[in-house]
Every structure is written in structure tokens, then in C-alpha cells.
């Protein structure tokens, strides 16, 4: 096995400082991504961060790596295209709950059943921050927001359960208030061969006055601390995915080894598409033409 030489977090230092509100959970996630990449020894030119639109989706601008700050909800699709074109890249998608679980939900579900080797970090603050505080797909029931003045009437979406039933092969949750644990969970996701979800509680200090750091701190516990927990047990994972209230689990819910989509693609066996020779040999071309005669 190749030796991993870890890199310092300064490797990924961008010239741009984040414009997030002071205290935003996303600072912790940015640090967590850098720590995870450093731990795995991924060089900046081997890392591709892809985001959609929203506060959290500004992340690619704040890390020294290739990046696309794509359209609202489309990060997963754009990232999939990048992975198809260049499978040597470590492609990490960084977005928010509105972006991924709202407008981009279709791509999220299909990407999971496709099992491309992608890591998807969702900075879940249960609110639309950039648009100044409307309800998101993960806003809890009865919570009042700018768009739900009578209290949210809709059930919040359960991303962990959704991921488990949709075929994701690495399903995890972290918390901005636990940076070291988060870095480990993200690193595990990047190292995992297949689609990895890392749902991160990343509190919005400006617009979500319910799901705050202290709110989470009181409730979260780590699955790794439970010696009986088995992350390869599908049913057990689903049961834990529904645990919410006084105790909320963090860590790796579910993991399974499955062939990645890339492995099923003959064209990608010859190495990244971007490095392949273009065009057709005369002989092959003539064969193809013969089919029309």
C-alpha cells in the first residue's frame, strides 16, 4: 500500500477570507475539509471542490484547490460530470440543505444509487441563510421562520434515512462543534470508494435561533462510542437514523462495499477520459461506416 504523507492545513490556504457571519458553523466545516485533505495527503491540484448556491456553497472560494461554484441545486450533477471526465480527482461536493435536500434533491438521490466515488458534505443549518431566513427542507416542524410565520407545517426531511435507503455506501453525520471528529468523518468519506454523505450540523447563528450550538451540544453523541453499534447493519442503521430529540447520533451510520459506477464503465478503465487520445482510428471508423451500407 502507498504511504500517505499528510500535508499541513496551510497547504489549502486561500487568499480569500470567508464572508460568513462570525460564529457560522461553516468555518468549522472549511477547517474540517482542509484537515481531512491534509490527513489523506491530497495535493491541491488533486482536489476538486464543487458547490451549488447558498452561504455554505461559497466554500470552494475559500480553499486552495480546484473548484466550481455551480448553480443552485446542481453541484452533484456537475461533480458527477467532473468525476466521469477525470476520475483521478478527489471530488468533494460542499453545499447546504436547501441546495442539496431541496432544489437539488433529485440529483442527490440518483447520485447515491449510482455510487460514483464522490463525497458530499451538506452543511445542514435547517434554514435558508443567504436569502435571509426562510424554512428549509430540514427545518423542524412548527418552527417559525420568515416563510412560516404560523410555524412550519411540513415534516423535516431525514437525510440520513434517505441516504441509507437510496443506496449511498457511506452515510455519516458530523457537527461543527466537534471539529476533530468531523475531520475524521470527512476523511473517512473521501477515502471511501463510492458515494459518501456527510451531513453536518452547521448552525446558522443569524437566522436559526432554535438549532444552536448549545442545542446540539446537549444532545449529540457519537456512534463510535457505542461498542455494540454495527455500521454494516442496514436495519440497525435505519433505526438510528430516526433517533432525534434528546439524543442525536453523530458519526458513521452505515457503510458497505459496493463496486463504484466508474468500475463498470469500460471507457474509464483506460484511465481518465481527459488523458485519452481523441478521435477514431481509420479502421474502426471504416467498420462503423460499414454498418450504414
Amino acid at each position: 500500500m502507498e504511504m500517505t504523507i499528510s500535508l499541513p492545513i496551510s497547504t489549502y490556504e486561500s487568499i480569500i477570507d470567508p464572508d460568513w457571519c462570525p460564529g457560522c458553523g461553516d468555518f468549522g466545516v472549511l477547517r474540517g475539509v482542509k484537515m481531512a485533505a491534509g490527513k489523506l495527503g491530497i495535493k491541491p491540484e488533486e482536489l476538486f471542490t464543487v458547490s451549488g448556491i447558498g452561504c455554505s456553497s461559497n466554500l470552494p472560494g475559500y480553499i486552495h484547490a480546484y473548484g466550481v461554484h455551480s448553480l443552485h441545486g446542481r453541484a452533484v450533477a456537475v461533480a458527477s460530470g467532473i468525476k466521469f471526465a477525470n476520475q483521478d480527482m478527489n471530488v468533494v461536493i460542499t453545499g447546504g440543505d436547501g441546495d442539496g435536500y431541496g432544489i437539488g434533491l433529485g440529483h442527490f438521490v440518483h447520485a447515491m444509487r449510482r455510487n460514483l466515488d464522490l463525497t458530499y458534505i451538506v452543511m445542514n443549518n435547517q434554514i435558508y441563510g443567504l436569502t435571509t431566513g426562510q424554512a428549509s427542507p430540514t427545518t423542524m416542524k412548527e418552527v417559525r421562520t420568515k416563510s412560516t410565520p404560523r410555524g412550519n407545517a411540513e415534516m423535516p426531511l431525514n437525510p440520513i434515512a434517505l441516504a441509507i435507503v437510496s443506496g449511498a455506501t457511506y452515510v455519516s453525520r458530523a457537527f461543527s462543534g466537534e471539529p476533530r471528529h468531523m475531520a475524521d468523518v470527512i476523511a473517512g468519506g473521501i477515502a471511501h470508494k463510492g458515494f459518501a454523505l456527510v451531513d453536518v450540523f452547521s448552525p446558522c447563528v443569524t437566522y436559526n435561533k432554535i438549532n444552536t450550538y448549545p442545542w446540539f451540544k446537549k444532545r449529540v453523541y457519537k456512534l463510535e462510542d457505542d461498542p455494540d453499534y454495527d455500521a454494516t447493519d442496514h436495519q440497525g442503521a435505519l433505526t438510528r437514523a430516526y433517533e432525534w430529540g434528546d439524543r442525536i447520533p453523530l458519526g458513521l451510520f452505515y457503510r458497505e462495499e459496493q463496486p463504484t459506477y466508474e468500475e463498470s464503465e469500460p471507457a474509464m478503465k483506460e484511465g481518465p477520459l481527459v488523458h485519452q487520445k481523441l478521435g477514431l482510428e481509420k479502421e474502426l471508423f471504416d467498420d462503423l461506416m460499414e454498418e450504414f451500407v
Binding site: 487568499i15 480569500i16 464572508d19 491541491p44 491540484e45 488533486e46 476538486f48 464543487v50 448556491i53 461559497n58 470552494p60 472560494g61 486552495h64 484547490a65 480546484y66 473548484g67 466550481v68 461554484h69 455551480s70 448553480l71 446542481r74 450533477a77 456537475v78 461533480a79 458527477s80 460530470g81 467532473i82 468525476k83 466521469f84 471526465a85 477525470n86 483521478d88 480527482m89 433529485g106 440529483h107 438521490v109 440518483h110 464503465e265 469500460p266 471507457a267 474509464m268 483506460e270 477520459l273 481527459v274 485519452q276 481523441l278 478521435g279 477514431l280 481509420k282 474502426l284 471508423f285 471504416d286 462503423l288 461506416m289 450504414f292 451500407v293
Partner: protein, 664 residues
């Protein structure tokens, strides 16, 4: 020129495609040039399918206006098309099942009833679909084609099912051939078969092949008629050609994946039709903003909304011009024929790379799905692959690599992700030369002005590179027909017909729609005596585009929006009316009244009746003149009632039964 047109009509599921294909391949391998058009519906079984194959010793440019031999696979076809067969022609049908009333065809047309059951009896157990093969055999004899060549085609078609199936098909065809030989004389076609085997290929196939030959490595799609056959060709050849073909969950994913792959450095393309393209449009703007090279093919069909999915139209030009918000550079091209479709795919990939922008290819159902014969060397494999200005190395001491450097040409030399020391972010927010956002914290009006100018400037270079439009046909003409996209062939033929009738006509055809050769076009148009636009849409979308680019208004229009492509005579007739100063009549014609009657029969009366005599009456049943269409029983021919259809509005006012009409 010697030429003949065969029509085959039946219901979906009658095996009409295979029959047409066998015939076309046979004629093509004999060295004839073909052009086929299949008028079909969005249905897997039933409906009315109408395939025309026109062939000649010289190149044919459309499916034409004629019908010389009809193979009818059902009663509908006999009733609706037998009358179109020209004197000297023949009508072939299975006489076990169908009856050809003498009122249904012109004199000097030969009825050819085939006793299929009797002919097949000696051959043991056969499939119902083999009635087609019997007819094909007879058609080969009547048209003076070579039976051995058809046997060869049947062998190629069925070899994967084993020799026994091949033998049976050949025997069935031979039975039809021999029967015709025994009972009838050939229709008198004397062919010089060159026996040069030329490709017989559709626009979609040509476009897919052209893209792959030019280095397309990633193709994404969501199934949608009439773009799906690109997906089918691509995926069938993906492994041999080394491309990734991805069917996605929707067109939004299709477009965004293609953008991702293009940005990462793979030659990337996707295709859809108007409805799917509507979903792709935000990603088109994204490609413009982050300067990702991507080719979008949109194959137009009848719209709006779901529209007429299996019918053709050129009504998505406005959509392509207006796809996505904001101003950004895009190139839009509309290839005219199968050969051009091949080269356009390659050209689009080159332009996308060179100018780092989205390129939209506007095709349409006619071009995408009709097969035609092309010369053997028409499609050349050694295509130019121009990836534009690439930065392959960036030494460490070279300073920051600026992905979006402001240059004179507007083109910022591109380092593909992974190139050492060139790390950058591509944002859909507007950004400076380094890709740093100018949308949030660091807004800057002058930087925005310069980056917008830089992007848009790319089109100036592109326009210089693209060939300007030219007059085709005689320089000196009274009429200039102006068209775009797939209409070139049919306009060319119409112009020839008009010239032979003494109306000096030439044509001006446009492939490059954006950027637009406004100066060159205006110069040509100012020199024309009378300009007539020819388009398959209601509003004349290209004429409007032309006006907006040049200020020039065309004198008149020939438009069609019934779902079927132009035929040369349609254009000729309308042009002659325009020349005579006659205004356009929108009244329901006799032929249309008959088709409206068929529509009513199918939807309300079952299959037991057919339209017979028709006449226009004034004011009796409605506030407009009406077509009074007598419907008669298919079996006995006795009158069952009258259908009243408005001559102006086309409204079906009333069904007036004589007595109770039986439904089957």
C-alpha cells in the same frame, strides 16, 4: 432523371420499419440514391404509419411529391393513399384481408392483390409479419430491382437468428416475386445499377458519429424523441469508441453533468428536444459564465409543451436564442443535411473548445430521423481536432495563473484541472481574472464591465472564422427563397421546379444563426428582387431573427406547421400564388377534410366506415361554409351519415347518422 417513390402504410406493430429498411438497403446497394421519411405517431401499436422512400440514379434531396408504388398493410392505407399513386404506378395489398374499391385509385394504376395465405401455404408455419416480405418480393419485381440483392440484404438482417430464418425470409420474398412475375408485367423502370454501395444514414447517426470521430468523450442524455437515437447510437458504440455515455435522471442533470465534464477537460456533448432543452437552459448560461466548452444538441419537434412529439417543426429558434438569463456568448448552428450534421458535430466541439463557450446545434425531427444516401467518402475520418489555447505547464515561479485572464481576443488560455500550479475556481457568480467573486463582498463595476466585454468579445473572433451565407443557384433571379437548417434540400428542389416553370429563383440559406453575418446577409438581401422566407413554423422565427440582426424584412413567407415537413410542390404552389398576388388561404382543403373525417371516424366511430363523397355547402349547418362529408360502410358501401366540418375553422360541427352506426 430516373426515379421512383415507394410508399408503405400500415399500423405501428405491422413491421413497417423493417420492411422499409430491407427495401431501402436493397436499392441502396444497387447504387441508387435514396431519401426516406417516416410519418409516424407516438404509439407502439396501432395508429397510422406512412413511410415514403424516394430513390433515383442521381442524388435526391427530399422525399418529393410523388407516389409510384404503394404497399398497403391495412385498409386505412388503401383508402388514404391509393389515390395518390400516379398513372403507370401500382397498388400492392394483401387480398386475403384488404379490398381495393375501384373508386379508390386512378385509372392507369395497376391494382396488385396478393393472395398471401395461398402463397405462404407451401412454406409451412410463417409469421403474420411475413405478409410484408411477400409484398416486398413483388415490389422488387414490379420496380425492376434485383432479387438477389434483396436476398443478400435479408441474409444480413436475419443472420443473427440463424440460417433457417434467413432461408424462410428469402423463400417468402421469392414467393411474392414469382407470383408478380407470373401475373403482372413490370412497371417499366430501366435502371443502370452502378452497384456502388453507399451509406444510408440518418442525421442523428451522422451527428453522433461526427462527434465521436472528433473526440467526444462524454455524452449525457435523457430519452426524448426525436433525440433518442443519438443516445442509442452512442451507447451501442461506446465501448468500441471509448466514450462514456450516461443516461441521467432528467435533462437538468444531463446538462450539468455535460458542463462538469467539459469543464474538467473532456470533450462533452448532450442532446435533447425542446422540452428537455427548456430544463437545460440554466446550465447553458452556466457554461457561458464559467467558460466551459459544451455542445448542446436540441432536435426540434412540434411544440409547444409536449406538442406533437413525432412530428417536425423549426419553432425552437427563439428558445435557443433566449436560453438562459443574461447576456453571454453562445454559438448556434443549424445543419442542413446528413453530411453537414456529421461535420457540424465536429465543428461544434472545436468551436466550444476554442472559444470556451456553449455551442447549440439546432436540428429537427426531419433531419434527425430521415435516412438518406450519401457518397462513400462524404464523411471523412481525419477531422481537425482543435482544442484551442491550452496551458499545459505553469512553472512555480510564474505567479498566479489567471484562469479568466482579460485578453484582446477574449479567450483566456485554459489550464485543465490537474495542471500543476494552476489551481483555480470557476464560479457562476461573476468573477475577476482569477475567478474571485465580484458578486458578494468584492463588487466592482469596472471589473464587471471588463469581464463582460472579454466574454462577449469571443464572438467577434468566432464570426470572422465562420463562413458567411451565399446565394445558391443563379445569381440573377426574380425570387430568392430564404431558409435555414434542414429546409435546404427541399427549397433547392422547389427552386429548380420554379425555374423549369419560368420563374427565375435562387436560394439564400443560413446555417450559422449566432453570431450572425449581418453585414454579408444584408448586402445579399439588398440585391434581391423579391425575398420569400421558407420555414416550418407559424411565426417565421428566422425571419424575425434576420430582421433583428439586419433590419431587413422579407417580402413574404411560406410557412408550414402541420407537423409534416415541406414537400417541394407545396413551396412551389405557394410561391406561385405569391407571384400572382394571391393571399394565403387558410381554408380546409378537400384532402384535409378527408383527413379530418378519418380523425373523427377513428376517435368516435370505430373502423367500420370511411369517407366517400365530399362537397362544400353554404350556411346550412353553421355560420360558415362547411364540408359535408358522406361516410359509407367499409363493407357494403352504403351511406351511414354525413360529417359536417367547417371550411374556415375546421370545427367538426355535427355527425348526422342515417341510422344507427355500428361500432366495431
Amino acid at each position: 432523371m430516373r426515379e421512383v417513390t415507394l410508399g408503405i402504410g400500415g399500423a405501428a406493430g405491422d413491421g413497417l420499419d423493417k420492411t422499409g429498411d430491407t427495401f431501402a438497403k436493397t436499392a441502396s446497394r444497387l447504387g441508387l440514391y435514396l431519401y426516406a421519411y417516416n410519418s409516424y405517431q407516438s404509439i407502439i401499436r396501432g395508429g397510422h404509419i406512412w413511410l415514403r422512400v424516394r430513390m433515383g440514379e442521381e442524388k435526391v434531396y427530399s422525399h418529393g411529391d410523388h407516389l409510384n408504388l404503394l404497399i398497403a398493410l391495412n385498409q386505412d392505407t388503401l383508402e388514404r393513399h391509393a389515390r395518390e399513386v400516379e398513372p403507370g404506378g401500382a397498388v400492392l395489398f394483401n387480398s386475403d384481408k384488404l379490398t381495393l374499391d375501384s373508386s379508390l385509385f386512378e385509372s392507369q394504376v395497376l391494382p396488385v392483390p396478393m393472395p398471401v395465405r395461398e402463397l405462404l401455404k407451401p412454406l409451412g408455419k410463417t409469421l403474420p409479419v411475413m405478409q410484408n416480405t411477400v409484398s416486398l418480393g413483388a415490389a422488387i419485381f414490379l420496380l425492376g430491382l434485383d432479387f438477389e440483392m434483396m436476398a443478400e440484404v435479408l441474409a444480413d438482417t436475419f443472420q443473427h437468428k440463424g440460417q433457417e430464418v434467413v432461408n424462410q425470409n428469402v423463400q417468402v420474398a421469392k414467393a411474392g416475386y414469382n407470383y408478380a412475375k407470373e401475373k403482372f408485367v413490370p412497371l417499366g423502370y430501366e435502371w443502370n445499377f452502378s452497384r456502388i454501395r453507399r451509406p444510408f444514414i440518418t442525421g442523428n447517426e451522422a451527428m453522433a458519429l461526427g462527434a465521436v470521430a472528433a473526440g467526444c468523450k462524454f455524452y449525457s442524455a435523457y430519452p426524448m424523441t426525436p433525440a433518442s437515437t443519438i443516445l442509442h447510437w452512442m451507447v451501442a458504440h461506446a465501448d468500441r469508441c471509448g466514450i462514456v455515455v450516461k443516461q441521467c435522471e432528467d435533462e437538468i442533470a444531463v446538462a450539468n453533468m455535460a458542463v462538469g465534464a467539459g469543464l474538467a477537460g473532456a470533450r462533452s456533448m448532450c442532446a435533447t428536444s425542446g422540452g428537455g432543452f427548456a430544463l437545460m437552459t440554466e446550465a447553458v448560461g452556466q457554461a457561458g459564465m464559467i467558460e466551459a466548452p459544451v455542445v448542446f444538441i436540441t432536435v426540434q419537434r412540434g411544440g409547444p409543451s409536449t406538442g406533437i412529439p413525432t412530428k417536425t417543426e423549426q419553432a425552437d429558434l427563439n428558445q435557443a436564442l433566449g436560453a438562459s438569463q443574461g447576456d453571454f456568448p453562445r454559438i448556434i448552428m443549424a445543419p442542413a443535411d446528413v453530411t453537414e450534421a456529421y461535420y457540424t458535430a465536429a465543428e461544434a466541439l472545436n468551436l466550444a473548445d476554442k472559444y470556451q463557450l456553449p455551442v447549440i446545434i439546432l436540428s429537427d425531427l426531419l433531419l434527425s430521423e430521415h435516412p438518406e444516401t450519401i457518397e462513400r467518402d462524404a464523411l471523412k475520418p481525419d477531422l481537425v481536432i482543435d482544442r484551442g489555447q491550452l496551458v499545459t505547464e505553469w512553472p512555480e515561479g510564474n505567479g498566479t495563473y489567471k484562469r479568466y485572464a482579460f485578453t484582446e481576443s477574449g479567450i483566456s488560455p485554459r489550464a485543465l484541472p490537474g495542471t500543476k500550479n494552476t489551481v483555480y475556481v470557476s464560479p457562476t457568480d461573476d468573477h475577476d481574472e482569477e475567478g474571485i467573486l465580484i458578486s458578494d463582498e468584492y463588487t466592482s463595476p469596472p471589473v464587471r464591465r471588463k469581464v463582460q466585454e472579454k466574454r462577449m468579445r469571443k464572438l467577434e473572433g468566432a464570426l470572422k472564422e465562420l463562413p458567411p451565407p451565399q446565394i445558391e443557384g443563379p445569381e440573377d433571379a426574380d425570387i430568392t427563397l430564404v431558409g435555414w437548417g434542414s429546409c435546404r434540400g427541399v427549397i433547392r428542389e422547389a427552386a429548380e421546379m420554379l425555374r423549369s416553370e419560368g420563374i427565375a429563383t435562387n436560394q439564400l440559406h443560413f446555417k450559422y444563426l449566432l453570431p450572425f453575418h449581418a453585414k454579408e446577409a444584408l448586402e445579399i438581401l439588398n440585391g434581391c428582387r423579391k425575398t420569400i422566407g421558407v420555414e416550418v413554423n407559424y411565426t417565421g422565427q428566422f425571419a424575425r431573427h434576420l430582421r433583428s440582426e439586419t433590419g431587413f424584412s422579407l417580402d413574404d413567407m411560406v410557412l408550414k406547421y402541420d407537423g409534416e415537413p415541406f414537400e417541394p410542390a407545396f413551396i412551389v404552389n405557394r410561391v406561385k400564388e405569391i407571384v400572382r398576388g394571391e393571399s394565403l388561404s387558410l381554408e380546409v382543403t378537400r384532402e384535409e377534410a378527408q383527413e379530418i373525417a378519418y380523425h373523427y371516424i377513428r376517435t368516435h366511430l370505430g373502423n367500420s366506415v370511411r369517407p366517400a363523397s365530399m362537397q362544400v355547402r353554404n350556411g346550412a349547418s353553421a355560420e360558415e361554409p362547411t364540408w359535408s362529408i358522406e361516410l359509407v360502410s367499409r363493407k357494403g358501401g352504403e351511406k351511414t351519415g354525413d360529417l359536417i366540418v367547417g371550411q374556415r375553422t375546421g370545427s367538426t360541427y355535427a355527425w348526422q347518422p342515417v341510422s344507427t352506426v355500428s361500432r366495431d
